[in-house]
């Protein structure tokens, strides 16, 4: 069984090898869309439901792709093991929220324009990343992991603390909302569709009315259209981040990063101030994590519950699936993780509920009630228990753990990580004219 899975992953990886990255991503997108359209049809969704499913998949894939790309810069390129992803995300979101929510809401913000808020959030996350990287200059891998994890918990506990629920600085009142969280500014995509994007009850603009009218006729409601438009916009942001990181990776700066990963002493001996490079990488990567988190939560609620260490582990699993060191792999990993591992189990649950008649109120409350009927060969109660809402969430995390162990044991390089670019700018495996000398 295991050998067969091994052959399977190897075959998939080999197949990936022969294709260009663009074709690969296209095939992946088409494949995932086809899969989830199929599942939606099985569930009997109408067009609105199908589009909504695809919206959610696209949205989560884009967010995780961005987070994984940022983490890949730190771990894949530079070898810095940052377990504080969730903390830097929180810094981005909360800073944006405190800068841009209206002073009249509870908790109050400064009411600055959204672009300033987003820029401020990204810069704050980057700055905090730079500060947090100072220990990174001294510590070896596992210490760094523990320190960054502790750091992210300090950030989370600080935002959660009642002390900062509302506070004032220089006469301006601000707040994080403590354990209840803070509501964030409305989604900027509303500017496309509404006359007054800030107001929830705003009438649609002329363009919005035309678009909504067209889709309404097909059975896709306005919020779904809005969400899909936002998810598509996020794909462009992912493309932007991808291009940025590829340019960084191929620049002289990026070659130093790879050199640090391969052998820091050598990089240092060649006259590179490796510490400065690490600080810059932390700042850039954490800034991007802040950006991804802002785009994730905007238009909704910022809550410290979203920034528990488990969020960091999600990003790591996604990176390991894709393969550390490869930007295309990061995008693949983000999409595969978000759609199959993160959302997949919920769809399995829905499909099973559709086809197995459990009966209303018949779901067992305890494992005993679920396992007991097995004696009379009745598996329905166990199935019902397994696919209940809370237990699917628990089993999803068990699955995540098992996948993580399986990958790290059998395919630590992930789907695309074996293509890790070398530190040299020219291909050292072929030495043109080497024999002539």
């Amino acid at each position: 069984m295991s050998a067969r899975i091994d052959d399977g992953t190897a075959a998939v990886a080999e197949w990936f090898d022969g294709r260009s990255d663009a074709a690969l991503l296209l095939v992946l997108a088409v494949g995932l869309y086809a899969l989830f359209t199929g599942v939606s049809l099985v569930l009997g969704y109408d067009l609105g439901g199908i589009v909504n499913t695809l919206r959610r998949i696209t949205f989560l894939s884009a967010i995780y792709a961005m987070l994984v790309l940022a983490l890949n810069l730190q771990w894949g390129y530079t070898g810095l093991f940052n377990l504080g992803v969730a903390g830097f995300m929180a810094v981005g979101v909360y800073t944006m929220g405190m800068l841009s929510t209206a002073p009249t809401t509870n908790p109050p913000g400064l009411g600055l324009p959204l672009p300033i808020g987003i820029l401020g959030g990204v810069l704050a996350a980057g700055l905090v990343g730079a500060v947090a990287s100072l220990p990174a200059l001294r510590l070896r891998g596992d210490y760094l992991a523990i320190v960054t994890l502790a750091f992210s918990e300090i950030v989370r506990l600080t935002y959660r603390s009642p002390v900062f629920e509302t506070f004032s600085v220089a006469g301006l009142s601000l707040g994080t909302g403590g354990s209840t969280g803070m509501s964030l500014p409305t989604n900027p995509i509303r500017m496309l569709f509404y006359e007054n994007p800030q107001a929830v009850t705003s009438p649609p603009s002329a363009f919005g009315e035309a678009v909504f009218g067209t889709f309404e006729a097909l059975g896709v409601r306005a919020p779904v259209v809005e969400g899909m438009a936002y998810a598509i916009a996020l794909l462009f942001v992912v493309a932007g981040v991808y291009v940025l990181l590829r340019r960084v990776g191929n620049s002289p700066f990026g070659r130093v990063l790879k050199a640090i990963r391969e052998d820091e002493t050598v990089a240092g001996a060649l006259g590179k101030d490796t510490r400065l490079f690490k600080v810059k990488v932390f700042a850039l990567g954490c800034g991007l994590m802040g950006l991804a988190a802002i785009l994730w939560r905007i238009g909704g609620l910022a809550s410290t519950e979203d920034f528990r260490p488990i969020t960091t582990f999600y990003v790591f699993v996604a990176l390991i699936i894709g393969g550390a060191g490869s930007n295309t792999g990061s995008v693949v990993g983000g999409a595969v993780f978000a759609s199959l591992l993160f959302e997949g189990p919920n769809f399995v649950r829905r499909v099973v509920t559709q086809y197995v008649d459990i009966g209303i109120g018949q779901t067992p409350n305890t494992i005993f009630e679920a396992v007991g009927p097995l004696a009379s060969l009745d598996v329905t109660p166990l199935l019902a228990y397994t696919i209940s809402d809370v237990n699917v969430s628990a089993l999803r995390l068990v699955l995540l753990g098992v996948v993580l162990i399986y990958l790290i044991q059998n395919r630590p390089e992930g789907l695309l990580g074996h293509r890790t670019e070398t530190a040299a700018s020219v291909d050292l495996s072929e030495r043109p004219g080497g024999e002539d000398r």
Partner: protein, 366 residues
């Protein structure tokens, strides 16, 4: 000339230890401020003693929970993120046993196994149900050790010799799988374990007020110290202890000297995880309640204790535990209560910056 050289030496000394000196000054300031607060009556002696007691109890819990982590860290060279969930497993299986023993006949078995039976009705405490407590402790040790061996066989053994980071990632996978399997079986939500009304406690008079010490705090403290001393004797005076220390220093050298490294690793897991299980059981006893994630929530503090003491040092884990416990509880004197945990993490980070080898750095495994 001579004076200038001397000045240079002093300057160099200060520069080299700037961080350490700054830290020392900061600590001195805190101590002075503490006395000022005691003097002005902003802080009573009784509440200070209460903080110190709470800190000591937390510190001993962390130290006890940290020994197992320090042992595997020194032998296998990786930070085991599943350690927190071994603590939880110890607490859960131990308390299921204690519930079954104490409640047999009087309560529904399913309710007992799921830890849902009313702790008030069961009335467990060290004095009212000593047999249940002792059996629970034994089962927690045995089951946690067995689980650690099984996981080592399935997950870590195939990865021997790999980098610490790869093992760390695998241990995160183990942590998730173990914790959420427990959630699948038990469901979430806190469980009350002991009955407060039958637990003996003593009010000790301190400077005009009183400090309450419960029998369960005392049990934890006594057993923690005893287990730590036992571990020390074991590591210091037995062949296994020598072999383990040799492996921690240099695994290849140990192997060519004829030390059966695989067997030492197994024994280390057995011993380390056994202690961890006991720690989980005793911490749950002292707190009187548990959740399926209490070990995970303790993990970072345990790491803090182990790192503070110097990774791989068993004494270090104890000293580090006490420092972290006291620092986090005493932080309440200056900081709002919501920063108790954060304060402990700050202490760990500062410590890593100032003295990366830990308080007892340089000493390994002894």
């Amino acid at each position: 000339m001579a004076t200038s050289t001397e000045t240079n030496t002093v300057v160099a000394f200060v520069r080299e230890r700037a961080a350490l000196i700054a830290l020392g000054l900061f600590l001195a300031f805190l101590v002075a401020d503490l006395f000022r607060k005691l003097g002005t009556g902003a802080l009573t002696a009784a509440s200070l003693a209460g903080f110190v007691k709470d800190g000591t109890v937390l510190g001993l819990s962390l130290g006890l929970a940290g020994i197992g982590l320090a042992m595997t860290y020194s032998i296998l060279n990786f930070a085991n993120f599943a350690h927190g969930d071994y603590i939880t497993v110890g607490g859960v299986v131990g308390w299921i046993t204690a519930f079954l023993v104490a409640g047999s006949g009087s309560a529904n078995v399913e309710q007992l196994v799921l830890l849902r039976a009313s702790s008030r009705t069961l009335g467990i405490s060290v004095t009212t149900a000593p047999v249940a407590i002792v059996l629970g402790l034994i089962v927690s040790v045995v089951v946690t050790a067995g689980l650690a061996l099984l996981i080592d066989r399935l997950v870590f053994r195939p990865m021997r010799g790999q980098r610490g980071i790869a093992l760390l990632i695998a241990s995160v996978g183990v942590a998730l799988a173990v914790r959420y399997l427990l959630v699948f079986v038990l469901q979430t939500g806190p469980r009350g374990l002991t009955a407060g009304q039958v637990t003996p406690s003593w009010d000790l008079p301190v400077g005009g007020g009183t400090v309450t010490v419960t029998a369960h705090e005392l049990t934890l403290a006594v057993l923690a110290v005893a287990l730590m001393l036992g571990t020390h004797v074991l590591l210091r005076y037995t062949t296994f202890g020598t072999a383990m220390r040799a492996m921690a220093d240099n695994e290849d050298l140990a192997q060519v000297s004829g030390i059966p490294t695989e067997r030492v690793i197994r024994t280390t897991w057995l011993l380390g995880a056994g202690l961890t299980g006991a720690a989980g059981f005793l911490i749950a006893l002292e707190r009187g309640a548990l959740t399926t994630s209490f070990g995970w929530q303790l993990l970072l503090l345990v790491f803090a204790a182990v790192i503070l003491g110097g990774i791989g040092s068993v004494y270090g884990a104890m000293v580090g535990g006490l420092v972290i416990g006291l620092a986090s509880r005493l932080s309440v004197v200056w900081l709002p209560e919501s920063f108790i945990i954060a304060a402990a993490f700050v202490v760990m980070i500062v410590m890593l910056l100032v003295r990366p080898k830990g308080l007892l750095g340089g000493v390994t495994t002894v």
